[in-house]
């Protein structure tokens, strides 16, 4: 199937934070331009932001890692976004985001005064500032999904960071199933072993897409997702 035309496109610079209300019926493609990007993301129902991305996402789909076919659930049993395409090979819903103390401890200090816009940023502060712009705050900071990063778990529960080998040009498509306040941040993953402050840019592109049909790969990924789509479609009736 040929892809719909890109409605708009932009680059999110390394370490930057971005937000937008993704409209139901559109899809956001996030492309790892250079390879080695990490994109932390938080999601809210724009019409009622107390409904937000929830860790139910994992148990509802029996996964500890997100990839093509998975959906992102809200706390209300509805689907915020679906992962309709994924050439990156998995995404981390567990590791959380960097904060000021972690960035200082790992990379040292770099202030705006000396470094101008190359100063060291952390994901938590980026999220909190962006949330505030939408009338939200620290109470609303919900679990983070890290795209383009994977955590492996040992049988004893130990976790280790792995960068997918897909590299430059890999992308993930998020189809909005509701009107979703989406806040993205390109800071490094908090468990990235790279000793250097080295965040990467990503390219965003938005397309208009058809609604998911009865045989949609995300709808049929799990029986649970079929019910999740039903509840989401009922919300708009």
């Amino acid at each position: 199937m040929s892809e719909a035309a890109v409605r708009w496109e932009e680059v999110v610079q390394p370490g930057a934070t971005w937000s937008h209300v993704l409209k139901r019926g559109t899809a956001l493609r996030i492309t790892d331009v250079e390879g080695g990007a990490n994109v932390g993301a938080i999601f809210y129902n724009f019409e009622c932001p107390v409904e937000r991305y929830n860790i139910d996402t994992l148990k509802a789909q029996h996964v500890a890692r997100l990839s093509k076919g998975c959906v992102l659930y809200s706390d209300m049993g509805r689907i915020l976004c679906s992962i309709t395409e994924d050439t990156a090979g998995g995404h981390d819903p567990i590791g959380g985001c960097s904060n000021a103390a972690l960035v200082k401890q790992k990379y040292g200090e770099s202030r705006y005064q000396e470094a101008r816009n190359e100063y060291y940023k952390n994901a938590r502060d980026g999220f909190l500032i962006e949330l505030e712009k939408w009338g939200l705050g620290p109470r609303d900071l919900s679990p983070v999904v890290n795209f383009f990063s994977v955590l492996d778990a040992g049988s004893d529960g130990s976790i280790s960071y792995r960068r997918p080998s897909s590299g430059a040009g890999s992308f993930v498509d998020l189809r909005a199933e509701m009107n979703v306040l989406t806040i993205l941040n390109t800071c490094q993953h908090p468990l990235d072993p790279n000793p250097r402050y080295d965040p990467k840019p990503v390219r965003l592109s938005v397309r208009t897409v058809p609604p998911p049909g009865a045989d949609d790969a995300c709808r049929t990924f799990r029986p649970e997702n079929g019910r999740g789509f039903t509840l989401t479609e009922r919300y708009f009736l």
């Binding site: 500890a64 567990i94 985001c97 778990a153 004893d156 976790i159 649970e224």
Partner: protein, 219 residues
């Protein structure tokens, strides 16, 4: 650290400053002072105790599953785990654990998620998030559903496989198993003693738990 660290407590229930049996399906909420010890006992075995913690002086600073997992680089909670807040504070430290493994990825059950996970007709069934909402509403002080985030499931077994799958397994807990924490700051604790009947997290038979609090122990 390893995912299992069984350590018994030296504290005697007879010397506790507070103790309370919480029936299945009920919420429980109380402040715990810095230095106090807080124990949750699985009285009859295989019972999930869904638990949230907050910095008692700033509820926007609260237990964070993601920060806790990342700081210890392990998915499971056991003796030695520092329960981290969203602002990077240590809320409590697990100092004893006779169960050996507790979950913090499984979330709390909800009427809405039961509809997704089991059947749309399950909406009416009692769930942890009903108890959490009731607890924070009654506690007041500005708390609301906004404050309900990813929780701990004491005594619950949710293993993650090397392939990245997540499953709900039979509990590893037994009658009388407990987990005990030392409060590293003044915290607010909220528990929903889980009423879930649709999966093995309570062995299909939700039962009471007991919570105990001891005052700061001498050097």
């Amino acid at each position: 650290m390893s995912g299992t660290n069984i350590v018994e407590s030296k504290l005697d229930g007879a010397t506790a400053a507070y103790r309370c049996v919480v029936p299945a399906g009920e919420p429980w909420i109380r402040e715990i002072q810095k230095g106090q010890y807080f124990r949750v006992v699985d009285l009859e075995g295989n019972q999930a105790a869904d638990t949230l913690f907050y910095n008692a002086s700033d509820y926007s600073d609260r237990y964070s599953a993601q920060d806790t997992i990342r700081e210890q680089k392990n998915l499971y909670l056991t003796t030695g785990t520092r329960l981290m807040s969203s602002a990077g504070n240590v809320l409590l430290t697990i100092v004893a654990d006779t169960c050996g493994r507790h979950d913090t990825l499984g979330g709390a059950c909800a009427m809405e998620s039961n509809m997704v996970r089991y059947a749309l007709e399950k909406r009416h069934m009692h769930a942890c998030r009903q108890s959490f909402v009731k607890a924070v509403m009654e506690w007041g002080r500005g708390m609301s559903k906004r404050d309900l985030t990813s929780n701990i499931n004491f005594f619950m077994n949710v293993p993650v496989t090397p392939e990245g799958k997540l499953t709900f397994e039979d509990g590893v807990s037994e009658p009388g198993k407990y987990v005990e924490m030392r409060a590293e700051m003044d915290v607010l604790a909220v528990i929903s003693n889980c009423p879930q009947l649709n999966n093995p997290c309570n062995a299909y038979n939700p039962t009471p738990i007991e919570v105990l609090i001891w005052d700061r122990q001498g050097a």
